[in-house]
């Protein structure tokens, strides 16, 4: 059954992760009617699904908000929602430490407060029609039903450029080495203080040494374990190298990662601090780099390292180049102290298409520039900019549609 939606001339945002939520809220606040299309049944994207508990890209290296607007509003809402949310130093950068469930609840509540946003969960865009410089129609499929949308503007916030791939695979750069994915599980029953320095370092070393002795699977040689939100909580992070076949191998990769997590927990239980540890929750596969668009401008590592500024800047970022090298593990290159760079609107746009933006992790960037720009706070900022631009475009189209008043 194909249903013609009443939501014509809406701003259609695909993906309800960091960038998509921001885009939807910004577009709605800009006066547009918004349709938010989300493949899963829950809001919050990678933070919700992959159990991200340290939100990066909200602060500069002096712990000041790097972008005002929605990223800041998000941090303030999260701090107000749960007393355990806190700003925390990670190396030389600052993050917001938050329980992923609190994040999900907060953004779900937030979206409900905004007017003019219709959310379709369990829905995916299956077809995209383009006429010249405009996306004219989207076919959205949910539980067997198809819905036709005639959008004023489209924002691809799927994180992996799903909408743009439907237009043309060649618009997405998907080859070459890329940041490994992550798999996070939440442990409870850990002795409080078990991960304080230097004990935490010893735990990680033990895992890596065990991998070296083949007592644990080889992929544990890059495993990491981090403080949780609760005193008896810890997050175990696995390192999951992926290539472009990850889409087809998603199930297999996830099963292996879960089995490895369980093996690590068994291994850790031999340590007194982890004797009572158990798996409370497993995230799903977190994709850091699921393909980047070939946009009007490709953000470069040079831009990131040299604090580039742009006339069409949409936001700033000061997060280090955090590249999860498939062979060597996490490589962190901090930007010069006190510096930040800008992301131009052209990195969110494709040549020749006027009413389409790609925001968040699929922005147009080189591999190492992406390794800095892809973080949650920056995704919120990119989403906000694209949402506002899309709302402006939909307002112009509404004006064109208005009948011209007759002269009296």
């Amino acid at each position: 059954m194909i249903e013609h939606s009443a939501n014509s001339r809406a701003v259609v945002v695909c993906g309800a992760g960091a960038a998509g939520l921001a885009a939807a809220i910004a577009a709605a606040r800009g006066g547009a009617r918004v349709v938010l299309v989300e493949a899963s049944s829950r809001l919050g994207g990678t933070v919700t699904h992959a159990l991200i508990h340290t939100l990066a890209g909200l602060y500069d290296d002096a712990a000041h908000f790097i972008n005002d607007g929605l990223p800041r509003e998000l941090a303030e809402r999260l701090l107000a929602a749960d007393s355990r949310t806190r700003v925390r130093k990670l190396g030389r950068a600052w993050v917001l430490s938050v329980c992923p469930n609190v994040y999900e609840r907060t953004v779900t509540q937030w979206l409900a407060e905004e007017s003019c946003i219709t959310v379709f969960t369990g829905a995916q865009v299956a077809q995209v029609a383009r006429s010249g410089p405009h996306i004219t129609q989207l076919t959205c499929v949910a539980s067997g039903d198809a819905r036709l949308l005639t959008p004023a503007a489209v924002i691809d916030a799927t994180g992996t450029a799903e909408v743009i791939r439907l237009l043309d695979d060649a618009l997405v750069s998907d080859e070459g080495p890329r940041s490994a994915g992550g798999w996070i599980v939440r442990l409870r029953g850990v002795a409080p203080g078990a991960l304080d320095f230097p004990k935490g370092l010893a735990v990680v070393r033990t895992l890596r040494e065990a991998a070296g002795r083949n007592e644990l699977p080889a992929e544990c040689s890059h495993a990491w374990i981090d403080l949780g939100i609760e005193p008896d909580e810890a997050f175990l992070k696995l390192f999951v190298p992926i290539d472009q076949s990850w889409r087809e191998r998603h199930g297999e990769i996830s099963r292996t990662a879960l089995a490895t997590s369980l093996a690590i927990i068994d291994f850790l239980r031999q340590r007194p601090d982890f004797a009572g540890a158990y798996l409370q929750q497993s995230g799903s596969l977190g994709i850091r780099d699921g393909g980047r668009i070939r946009g009007r401008y490709v953000l470069t590592a040079y831009d990131v390292r040299r604090s580039a500024t742009f006339a069409d800047a949409v936001c700033r970022c000061a997060w280090p180049i955090e590249y999860w090298d498939p062979q060597r593990g996490a490589m962190v290159e901090y930007l010069p102290a006190g510096s930040s760079y800008e992301i131009p609107m052209r990195s969110l746009q494709l040549d020749g298409i006027e009413n389409l933006w790609a925001v968040g992790k699929c922005l147009s960037a080189e591999r190492l520039a992406h390794a800095s720009a892809r973080v949650v706070g920056t995704c919120w900022a990119m989403g906000q900019a694209a949402g506002a631009a899309a709302a402006a475009m939909s307002a112009i189209q509404e004006c064109r549609d208005e009948p011209v008043p007759a002269l009296s």
Binding site: F197, P198, R205, T206, R306, A330, V332, Y334, P336
Partner: protein, 91 residues
């Protein structure tokens, strides 16, 4: 400054601080490494220094007293080297 200190300083500078083309700032011997480096960097440094100086650091030795500054780390590595030399001499 001892040779070990110089090696550690060069290592930290090259591995963690020169990235991004920042002007290499002078790293003092008593600078707090646990603030300067993140835990991943400390772990990586430890593994690399173990290989470079042919020592084995026990988990129980991971303390601020041993790792906190370049000076302390150099003294710790020197002691480890002496210990292992001594062990190799005694039957």
């Amino acid at each position: 400054m001892t040779r070990i200190e110089a090696t550690i300083r060069d290592y930290i500078q090259q591995s963690f601080l020169d990235g991004g083309g920042a002007a290499p700032g002078y790293l003092r011997g008593d600078e707090d490494l646990l603030t300067l480096l993140d835990s991943l960097q400390i772990l990586r440094m430890l593994m690399d220094l173990e290989a470079q100086f042919d020592i084995k650091v026990d988990n129980s030795e991971l303390t601020p007293e041993n790792l906190g500054t370049i000076e302390r780390l150099a003294a710790f590595i020197h002691k480890k080297q002496l210990d292992s030399a001594y062990k190799s001499l005694t039957p």
